[in-house]
Subunit: 657 residues, 3 copies
């Protein structure tokens, strides 16, 4: 189903009915409102103006739309900030971040938690049982504008309490943090500071604990809202709209407290800010990184334990990246089908109509500011027409391959990158991309997840493995490919006692005796099969009794293992990219007995139930690898640039044996 | 006439007579003094030491020099700062900017306004009627070192008052700022903050209003000084020495309160900090951007409503750019003639003698620190000799082409650039340069200016047009070429109700339905005539009933209009540069019936009355496009690098039909 | 002799004996301990836990190791910081730099000086006469993490006192600082502020005085510790471990108060952060800049007045650079021999065993965290075996060439660089490198040093010459080559009265009439002999009666002198690099009658007594330029990459006539 984000408070009352009617006429089923309306709902302390919101819900609901209400806590009103200035967050320099945009609150402010509960209580009391209200969103985009980490007094005190809870005794903290180093010993939890404005980097365990603490603050802040919503609005699903690839907090943990994970899809800015080279960015400028949206659909499907929505879908050019190009015509349709193909059950466009004022006035809507239909509107209409040709009720099946994304490991790499431009997020996306180019569907897992049904787990950066997870992996018949640095730290951010890979050693016998971070200008040669490849950024020296599948060559330690493995597990001691990575993934899939296709180039595939999808991100027409007996429901075997094909076939897909 | 900046307080008393005599002997007529002398005039609170200043004025005046006194408010003394610490400005991070250099005051400090008035009163009382004092300068270089914008408590309160004045009611502010967005509603003006240290960008109207407020603070600060000067020194002209291309405040408004606009000419740093590519910077390294000084002469001629001086002319290498190359020998002479050709009536060199101490000890003077004549001295002597060959009293005539520079529009682009490196100043200079390369003189106008006598207005970036200006334009027979983004915002920083170009639609029927900011690596192809050109940075999608004069080509929306027009107006939907821009300007001049010449390359022309000037910025000798009957007063038809030719001819100039 | 840095507080008590035994078995003679142990020695105010430290000294000493104790003042404990928060340093933004790493103290804090004296007193009282304690180190790496410059209240008050001491009267300060400029006059020392957070740069004398003050604060802080140590531990040498190429304080002055200068050798990070181009960095990635370690050995030999140690030698990859590559196998051995060849009498590796926790867990040791021998361990063993083949007691002789490094001049260039990327440190290293490539040994001198025995002084950047030094130079028969900017400032940071080179004019008759800093993209052509070379960054215009040895060519002031000289002195008016610099140095050595060799490429030589050393930094085998009668003690004539040759020969070395 499709929906749209709407801000009745931003438009004259006279337009609401017409807007609602046009939404329904277009074929939209859902509408999200309210997440930035606090100052309109409660313009002064304790003075509530519900009437306009009542009316808005009424108008939308009566038109036939299912309403999602966002709790308005992402943007507390000025009167509240003036009354309680210490709800404001403090940046890493120690400067208070002022009112005037959004997300101007500190997750650790007890006062703000009370106020957030108060307004959530008020809104859910009033609309919890409203027949037109079908779902709830908590807050908005946790982590946007770097707001997970606050360095306030409130954060300091909460951090000390969190540490006391985690460690029990300060001596245990001293042990974990290694405070025998540099005379850092603490005599009590109250001596511990936040890790900002230091002379030099703090001990990495200090940083990782601060990241974990900050993550837990988000979880508990969100949970408090969910509890209130569930109390007043039982039976309606609760979601939160996550950001793409934010790793400032553990999304799985927040995901456990909600019913559906949703995320906000902005591929144009994602390209500009993303992992690709300048040449690749030019090539994909108006279609975006061919893998970044799919990666996130699959990730948030895991975060939502199977249920995933898109709460905001980019409908045209936006405003917030360093440059803001237009999507190619057709991409709004393509992204909508892509979401569906990856298991998304609701796509809501952001926003109905472009606002002619305020910060996002360069952000497109389905309508132009003068209410004309923009390009996105027309593409949504096309999708809706096409949807009618498809069978209902198809469900995304489980994949054979699971990609492991572990937030604790990301905290670890951030705290101690060792190389300035070491980019764990980009590495994971590179790995995902290689698998996708071979036509294979991917699920995401965390270490807490069930492994049943998978043939292969790929773990590009499992820095801190759980012993329990490794044990379950060992007990299963799943094969696994680890990236470099996997197993390199314990939960305390120490090097494992008998060297990395620590508990991974249960799967694969080797020791990492030396690591190097390398500048981009340095290429290391790796001989894999009969071919030499170049890698950069990271190289490890390994001692192993396992089979050596690739070796480093060149002046420095030639013949040192670059890839090792046994029947169960493989470990890569460097960062393959491009051809090397593609070949490595192809071989790994074959090893795990997962069917794959030859390199698809700029084409991408996906399956949902019996539906097969192909998406063309290239600038030339491509051929969909459909079976000879394929019946095309949308498009055809020949897929134009920015176009989509959807088909059914009886023959089994080569990539899903 | 020529002059020089002199600092008697920096030199032994014994040198003054000799210095004055050498100035006169060289042929200088003017001398500027006093603008940094406060701590010498009033070394302690209320203790005035006038005797040395009296003497200095006497020595200079008796030698035959006309004295310009600068009010010393650009550098309040330490005892004053210590007594009233809140006169110091506060930077955008919230940090107080300390004493120890200059411009360490906040324009909003009421205390500083009192003190500035007090010292101005004291100085003008004493010297206002002095027979040797012929002119006044207020303060020094408003805006240098980013000092227009202060984030002090004083600025906060003044801003709130300014907003109350502008909007009357807070609800009107809420409407204009669009505070229904992100829950930003204000209940009173006292809730409004300064737009710094926010979590994310403030609403752009907040920013633009802060820029307007800051601009108005400069105007009123300056006006207060002018009023005092006029009271005590009636009949002497008042000037201010502006900086080149500073757009932090509305120079036209300050210009209205003074008699003569002057500006400070530093082409070497202008090149290093300027718009050109690294290759171009290398090519013009020691001659400077061939258009930047001329652009500013023409601009400040408009700011001074016809009267323009150069208060500081670079006489050799300086100290403040990232790199400080020497001008080519001959350039001090060339710049002096350039100023004269563009209507400048007085050129004062900065400075008489290089200081061997303090911040500017690497800043050349006409004399070296040991009082030897430096290269600039010799070139000034040459100019003075050459001047005697020229007829007196020639006035710069009105041009056929007016370039519109609108400060409010610059505030708008700065507040909401949409592309990180979108550079409105560089675009305007590019346009000016293209016209200049075709041999055509240019005037500058603001929207308040009279249009009489112009055939063509070029408006590279009129983001916020006044309805009145557009109406006057429409009523005139002036043709107009608009650059992209023209008309894209209302005075409230909103998108116009029926889409851009808002009120420009009265001249040309089109709508901008989509804009894109593009990274430098992305080139868009534009077909203009039979030639394809590349543009980058900005592209608009336009719907129009007017004639399409150029189109975009390529994969994305091919044949979309890139340049449109009717008999009155043309609009360009992208950013032409180089060949494309030159061709566009050539065609536009022809369309407006303005005569022009073939591309002059590195030669530049100018006319002042019946005098014709040519300036060679290239590295090869060039031929001045003088008529066959030309009589050369300075130089000849063949113009060497860094050289000048001045002639009279009876034949009409092809570029001034 | 060799040693190692050890942290008993970081390891279980049970490991100490085994560690000590392995150290001795490897052949180490020294062990440094204690410099970060304050919080373990005094975990609460006044509560001392000596027993573990007693035991550590005992265990190490009884095993046969000579103990060096570092005073633990580089890392005061948290309880102390909490009790006296104003001991923390303040950064240039005005932000307090917090506890949690190290060096979190302000040199100007009187409170911290008392506390540092108290703990130093306590430690030296207890161990000063201990038979196992053979040497002392003060604090640790003064200047690391940019900690020389603090902007605290304490620094402010101390700076004012320092100024009063230096200038006597505030009018003398006003004269020196040139406060007639920009109205900067001070009425008392108490009006003077620290030079941070100004609107624009302060007067350069203000900055240079602040740098001198900060330097003096380090000296007096260190001296206080040395005095205490000498009182309680007479006869044991005192050292401090300096950082490579730090120029934040005058190392000669600190060196005068200690017995031995030591420094910390990290060539891998030195390469990454250093002067070389990206291509050169790639070429030398795992061997490091071939001249940077040698440069520092020679420099600190001067700082230690002949006695130099390496307190920390990199034993493998480390953690603190932007990228952290591994040294090539063999380099730990090579660096050890290099140190010895340059006169170093003790090399201590940092550290015994890699720590598995805290900030430096990626920093290699001789042992891996699990106590396995790492590569460095094996190379140390090799060095120790090889050492036995060498005659004992060889002393590094005096060189014929002295390179002048003057810290006051570095402060001057830092305060007033004139070109943003002007890098005096890199220039000095370039000059050193050119001499080294010609096979010639170098000593370092300051202006206070004796000139006896030198044939040539090279002074790449003697900005502020002492008249006394110049007089001694003139009176000697030493020849001298000056780099650009030499003599360009007086001690007050003024341009000399009759232009630069000020007092250098006693040696060479010329005047610098103009200087230019140039961007990297601008090349100036210099004709030297029959060859044209390119220089960039800096060019001077010179007037001289001396012989012109090279000239600038091109459009700007062709034939202007680029290199001038007489029989005593030469002066270069630009920055030669690469071939030009090599040729210039070759000619200069010949002029000074110093023997040299043809360009050695990537080979480097050194002599210690009768021992000759060759070090190969290239990727191909090189031939050691040993005499025909050479006897090789280590290696042979053919030197492999990363390898060393050591020989004795009876024939005199061509490069040491
Ligand atoms: Zn109401
Ligand atoms: Zn006086
Ligand atoms: Zn104890």
């Amino acid at each position: 189903e499709l929906g749209v984000c709407y801000y009745p408070e931003q438009w004259p009352r006279a337009k609401w009915e017409e807007d609602a009617a046009r939404m329904v006429e277009l074929g939209l089923a859902w509408v999200r409102i309210g997440e930035f309306a606090w100052s309109r709902i409660e313009p002064q302390s304790g003075v509530f103006h519900w009437e306009w919101f009542d009316e808005a819900v009424d108008v939308l609901g009566k038109a036939g739309l299912k309403v999602i209400i966002g709790t308005p806590t992402a943007a507390p009103p000025k009167w509240l900030v003036d009354r309680y200035p210490d709800i404001l967050p403090v940046d890493a320099r120690g400067v208070v971040r002022k009112f005037g945009a959004r997300r101007h609150y500190c997750f650790s402010s007890q006062r703000y938690r009370l106020e957030a509960a108060r307004i959530t209580e008020a809104v859910t009391q009033r609309y919890g049982a409203h027949p037109f209200v079908h779902a709830w969103q908590t807050d908005n985009e946790y982590g946007d504008h770097d707001t997970i980490h606050s360095y306030s007094r409130a954060a300091l005190h909460a951090f000390r309490e969190w540490l006391a809870e985690r460690y029990g005794t300060v001596e245990e903290l001293n042990r974990a943090w290694g405070t025998t180093f540099w005379s850092m010993h603490y005599n009590s939890f109250d001596e511990v500071d936040l890790p900002n404005n230091l002379v030099e980097e703090p001990t990495p365990t200090h940083l990782v604990d601060y990241f974990r603490f900050s993550s837990d603050q988000v979880q508990s802040f969100n949970k408090a809202q969910v509890d209130i919503i569930r109390r007043h609005s039982p039976g309606r699903p609760v979601t939160h709209n996550f950001m793409s690839q934010n790793t400032d907090f553990d999304h799985y943990k927040v995901g456990e407290d909600i019913d559906i994970a949703s995320w906000d899809v902005y591929p144009m800015g994602g390209l500009i800010n993303g992992r690709l080279s300048a040449e690749e960015k030019q090539r994909y400028l108006r279609v975006g990184d061919p893998d970044q949206p799919a990666f996130n659909h699959d990730l948030y499907r895991a975060v939502g334990r199977g249920r995933v929505w898109v709460m905001e879908q980019q409908p045209g050019p936006v405003n917030w990246a360093s440059h803001n190009q237009s999507p190619a015509d057709g991409m709004v349709r393509l992204w909508t089908w892509l979401a569906y193909a990856h298991g998304v059950d609701m796509v809501s466009y952001f926003r109905w109509r472009q606002a002619p004022f305020a910060q996002e006035q360069f952000h497109a809507g389905l309508l132009l500011p003068n209410s004309e239909e923009d390009q996105g509107f027309k593409e949504v209409a096309q999708v809706i027409a096409e949807m009618k040709r498809l069978p209902k009720g198809e469900k995304r099946g489980k994949a054979s391959v699971a990609l492991l994304l572990d937030y604790d490991s990301r905290f670890a790499t951030r705290a101690l990158p060792q190389g300035r431009d070491y980019a764990a997020s980009a590495i994971a996306l590179d790995w995902y991309s290689a698998i996708s180019r071979l036509g294979v569907d991917v699920d995401f897992i965390g270490q807490h997840c069930d492994l049943d049904g998978y043939r292969l787990v790929v773990a590009p950066d499992l820095v801190i493995p759980d012993a329990d997870f490794i044990a379950r992996l060992k007990a299963s018949d799943v094969k696994v490919l680890f990236g470099p640095r996997s197993g390199s730290k314990t939960r305390d951010m120490h090097i494992p006692g008998d060297l990395p890979p620590g508990v991974l050693g249960d799967l694969l016998d080797f020791r990492v005796t030396r690591v190097e971070s390398l500048p981009a200008f340095q290429a290391e040669t790796v001989l894999y099969g009969n071919t030499s490849h170049q890698t950069t950024r990271w190289r490890e020296t390994i001692r192993t009794t396992e089979t050596v599948l690739a070796t480093f060559q060149g002046d420095y330690r030639p013949d040192s293992p670059a890839l090792i493995g046994n029947e169960k597990a493989r470990y890569c001691a460097t960062l393959p990219r491009d051809e090397f990575l593609l070949k490595l993934m192809g071989d790994t899939l074959a090893w795990a007995n997962v069917g794959s296709l030859p390199d698809l180039g700029d084409l991408r595939l996906s399956r949902r139930g019996k539906l097969h999808f192909a998406f063309n991100y290239g600038s030339a027409t491509a051929s969909a690898p459909a079976a000879a007996d394929a019946t095309f429901l949308v498009g055809g075997r020949s897929v134009a640039p920015a176009d989509v094909a959807i088909w059914i076939q009886s023959t089994q897909d080569a990539a899903i044996k």
